[in-house]
């Protein structure tokens, strides 16, 4: 992907992830985060939650993966911000969508800004992460 090929409104391919409980267990291990919210059903019942809660921090990884895969291994993610909207539970599938909102030439290279959203797909479709913005430098 070269900067000349990019324009405002371009969209990276959607990224879909189904987050099963074993994925969440692996993530909990890989991030040294063993909070009971993410696997302990007895604990979850005391909190009134219907199923293990997906650790929201993982969505940062998905947002980064979408732009990195699209813009290639020489692209460098410079900034990433996101806000949590709705909870996501074990077994649900999320979709990361995005669109280019700016392409600017700077002394560091071409900076591409992509606005992203993460939506839970299926019968209870809802927004999980809103107002995400990734800034990627192409060199």
């Amino acid at each position: 992907m070269t900067s000349a090929a990019l324009a405002v409104g371009d969209r990276p391919p959607n990224l879909e992830k189904t987050i099963e409980l074993p994925d969440m267990v692996a993530y909990a291990g890989a991030t040294w985060d063993w909070h009971r919210l993410h696997y302990d059903t007895d604990y979850l019942a005391t909190k009134g939650l219907p199923a293990p809660l997906v650790d929201g921090q993982v969505f940062g990884a998905y947002l980064a993966e979408q732009v990195q895969d699209w813009l290639g291994p020489r692209a460098r993610l410079r900034r990433l911000s996101f806000r949590f909207a709705q909870m996501v539970f074990a077994g649900e599938t999320v979709r990361v969508t995005g669109a280019v909102t700016a392409v600017e030439d700077t002394p560091d290279g071409t900076v591409v800004t992509v606005e992203q959203t993460i939506t839970v797909v299926g019968e209870k479709e809802r927004v999980a992460v809103k107002g995400a913005t990734a800034e990627v430098v192409l060199q």
């Binding site: 692996a26 063993w34 909070h35 940062g60 990884a61 993966e65 990195q68 020489r74």
Partner: protein
């Protein structure tokens, strides 16, 4: 009663440092990449990473913002072993607002991470349902053993009153 007590206000500027007991490591990077389902060879294949301008494999950018590896803390009764401010505010529930990451330089397996967490701002708001909220902004700077700034993580935590005030 206001959630923004003098004790809470006095927390602005509080700082905590954590230094990992060892290098981040290639296995930790591969484990994380596999756990999030990201098969980009930048994280596992030295040759591929070198061909794309790096010294060797790098960590996925958000890894050090998400891991508690550096903290070395005992897990609490809820199983959590990461950084926290020890805030227990009666009559509220804690929710995560969001994060803003700035990536200054790539993180490598040989980096020994030091995280410096600082409370930057506390303020009070009322949400659309009339519930008081305490919004706590903090910042983590992650550096390696050479003092190089790797990533900055700005985080918003929100404590929402369980009952509406009005």
């Amino acid at each position: 009663m206001s959630l923004l007590t003098p004790e809470i206000e006095a927390m602005v500027g509080r700082e905590v440092n954590y230094t990992a007991p060892e290098e981040l490591g290639r296995a930790a990077i591969r484990y994380y990449a596999q756990a999030v389902g990201d098969d980009n060879p930048l994280y596992t294949d030295d040759e591929y990473a070198r061909a794309n301008g790096y010294d060797g494999v790098i960590a996925p950018p958000t890894l050090i913002c998400e891991t508690n590896q550096y903290a070395g803390l005992e897990r609490d009764t809820e199983g959590y072993a990461g950084h926290g401010w020890g805030l227990d505010i009666p009559g509220t529930r804690q929710v995560r607002g969001g994060n803003s990451y700035t990536f200054h330089r790539p993180v490598r397996p040989s980096d020994v991470i030091t995280a410096t967490w600082t409370i930057t701002d506390v303020r009070e708001r009322v949400n659309s349902a009339g519930h008081e909220m305490l919004v706590i902004n903090s910042r983590a700077n992650y550096r390696n053993q050479d003092g190089e700034l790797l990533v900055t993580n700005e985080e918003t935590l929100i404590f929402v009153a369980l009952e509406a005030t009005a």
